[in-house]
Symmetry: C2
DNA sequence: CTTAATTACTTAACATGTGAATTAAATCAG
DNA sequence: CTGATTTAATTCACATGTTAAGTAATTAAG
């Protein structure tokens, strides 16, 4: 009979749960603005007049290309982002519209406060350490490949 | 003009990337067995003759109920899990079939080795600390609610 | 015992995750 | 300059994430 593996101690499960715990702190807020969390990540990445192509945007927001195609279409339809002509005509470069910047500015106030509250509850130094540890884990795994 | 927020230092992004880095170590392996990662989590949770209702299973595997409904239907159709009569007729209690146990046993060998390799590359103690930290983060956030 | 409230799960609708195949544009070899 | 290769996005097909609504069974209130 196969041993019944511990599961609560699993790194995979711990990461899933932690991610859910953190993102759920923001989900209601961005939903009140009619956005999903992936959509909000895109808005945030473009804030402040930043112009980005799809590949860079996908990487920064941790969204796969097919999903990003749909999200861009959606946000463009809502008038929150717009295309920018690019030298390389294969690329789709986008930026926030004035409405998009306004949406970001309005949401960012509360979003930043929520992030600060998490930092406050968990510990500023502990949080910085955790992010560093997570990035180191990623670096180690990417080297293995 | 809104300040352009740092993004690589974001806890949310770090968690997303770390989760992706870890799960991607297993995705190809379970895909070779015709399974997705959520499906594999279900199989694993039921390994060793464990019988579980949908709610408990959903919690342990970090899968939402509607997704689990579909996954159970899928795995049952493949003959890897089966229903168990329950006193409470609202509940759906399931367990692995003989085929399901065989599938788990076969996949678990490699899966366990891959997990050990991660532990080896990242550090046993560091990994235990990381899991503990992630669980503490979750506890802190759940208290805030 | 009967009905209201609760619980466990399912269904529905839409958004995203994921891998494979496609299309269009840029780059490269000859 | 031409054809082969590579690159950037998109499209397709299917699985899961997410919320809200719906159904059936249990429990609780009277």
């Amino acid at each position: 009979m196969a041993e019944a593996p511990r599961y609560d101690d699993s790194l995979t499960i711990a990461l899933l749960r932690a991610r859910e715990a953190v993102t759920s702190q923001f989900r209601n807020h961005v939903a009140a603005g009619g956005l999903t969390l992936p959509q909000w990540r895109v808005i945030r990445a473009l804030a402040g007049g930043t112009e980005l192509d799809t590949t860079t945007l996908a990487h920064r927001c941790v969204i796969l290309a097919p999903s990003l195609t749909r999200i861009i279409k959606h946000l463009e339809g809502r008038g929150l982002i717009e295309k920018v002509p690019a030298r390389d005509k294969r690329q789709r470069v986008v930026r926030l519209t004035a409405d998009g910047e306004a949406m970001f500015t309005e949401m960012w106030v509360v979003s930043k406060a929520k992030y600060a509250a998490i930092e406050d509850a968990f510990g500023t130094e502990e949080m910085r350490d955790l992010v560093a540890t997570l990035n180191r884990l990623r670096a180690v795994l990417e080297d293995k490949s």
